[in-house]
Symmetry: C2
Subunit: 314 residues, 2 copies
Amino acid sequence: MFDQILAARERLAGHAHHTPVMTSHTLNERVGAEVFLKCENFQRMGAFKFRGAYNAISQLPDKQRARGIITYSSGNHAQAVALVCQLFGVPATIVMPDNAPATKRAATEGYGATVVAYNPSEQDRKALAEQLAAEHGYTIIPPYDHVDVVAGQGTAAAELHEDVPGLDMLLTPCGGGGLLSGSAIASKGMRPDCKVIGVEPEVADDATRSFRTKQLVTIHNPPTIADGTRTPSLGEITFPLVLEYVDDMQTVSEQAIIEAVRFLFYRMKLVVEPSGALGVAALLSGAVPASGRVGVILSGGNMDAATVTTILNG
Amino acid sequence: MFDQILAARERLAGHAHHTPVMTSHTLNERVGAEVFLKCENFQRMGAFKFRGAYNAISQLPDKQRARGIITYSSGNHAQAVALVCQLFGVPATIVMPDNAPATKRAATEGYGATVVAYNPSEQDRKALAEQLAAEHGYTIIPPYDHVDVVAGQGTAAAELHEDVPGLDMLLTPCGGGGLLSGSAIASKGMRPDCKVIGVEPEVADDATRSFRTKQLVTIHNPPTIADGTRTPSLGEITFPLVLEYVDDMQTVSEQAIIEAVRFLFYRMKLVVEPSGALGVAALLSGAVPASGRVGVILSGGNMDAATVTTILNG
């Protein structure tokens, strides 16, 4: 798999941003380590998801891609697929729950995608996408359980290891496990001594429990503010990769996530969404004791006014 | 004066951050120019003010500095003086109105300064600072009307010209004129073809009117959300510098400022305070028609929850 990450890097060059790494004296003092924040909130469309979507869609044969792409997501993967399709000039269809926030729907449509709403209590999103794909000849690009998506997501950690040699630890948020498994594979390929730790909200700890018990645990609609981690479970592809390559998993409280978003906002002037702040939450709360050189992937910065207001005033 | 900016650069090396320059495809497309944003929101204590305060305080003889520094400000200059004094291990006293927001007072005290509150309807802040300085042997470092402060503020534009050669235009917020005059002097020294434009809120257009009429105009407590530009007028030192070195002044509406803060927040994931977003407001609103290569100084990112909430939900 590491070779596929290296190939993805070449494919993404000039298309994805090589995002900057930020540091903070205050953060280093607070946690007693040298912390390096990989700013995927500055990635195109505001999150690492662009990497996986671009890596997968750019590899499709021209004819197949021209028939269109479909996916199911109300979050950053939807915007990523929409933007990549816009860049290639091919149609994108996004299956989204009819109760998704209007801002998310508008952002996806802003990149030129067609949104198909479904009733989540009556319909299965994956089945609906498969039906539409069969009818129209679309290719499905799932949000995380796809080898090319995982390889694309791994390029963020690869860039970080290149820019910051000698990391002792890398903290990565975990939703469906695409970013986490890609980051772990990149780390083992480039810096085998770097311990890779996935971070989840306490109330959405399906991957942590799956990692510990080696049995896939599913949690539907966990009540976390970190909406990028509300995926019910790891995938068929990502679960074995997480078991093989990831060193540990840790969880953080909702309050720790909120405090991390606030710290990044007030002290570092960075807009980072709750899911993106999980690594910093683990460090600031002490859930992960830090030492040496610690990398953290800030996975995204897409956050609506209601979420910001809740976090800053809560 | 340009030599003093070059000397300030050497003095600040290793103490102030050499802040990054950010760009945005979306912003370039919206305004029809190549825009380069100098991120002084990432400067120490969150604003360019650190540069001027450090440049002034570091030049004082040790004995004089050890007796202590005093200034009058409720904004970023207060925090800058407090932090610089903390770095030198000397006492800082900040004269602040007794109705200043608790968060600003707390931030200043967080850097170890002593805050002296006064009643703005009964007392003059400058007179009070002078009285305390005389009593205790403090040195006054005013917020903008001081040659070493102006030279320090000019180092941000100097870095930008070094990092981004060939700028055709530079937009800079204008409050008391320290940043604007320093930026203009740096620009004329390094890139004489670059047109330097100061930007003010429409409702706080004292400097624009002073620039046009060549008579110093004063506006007390203008009702702008851009609190860094609520200074009543240019200073005795900055007014002639602005007249000599600045090419033009423009104003923007409160709505344009709010939209610029939102754009920087949602599209670029940057926390920029209203005063810091004036240049982007001028570009996005069309107040300054852009072409070629345009530099913009994002002067700071210190914003409390109430301001953010108003801007994002307003």
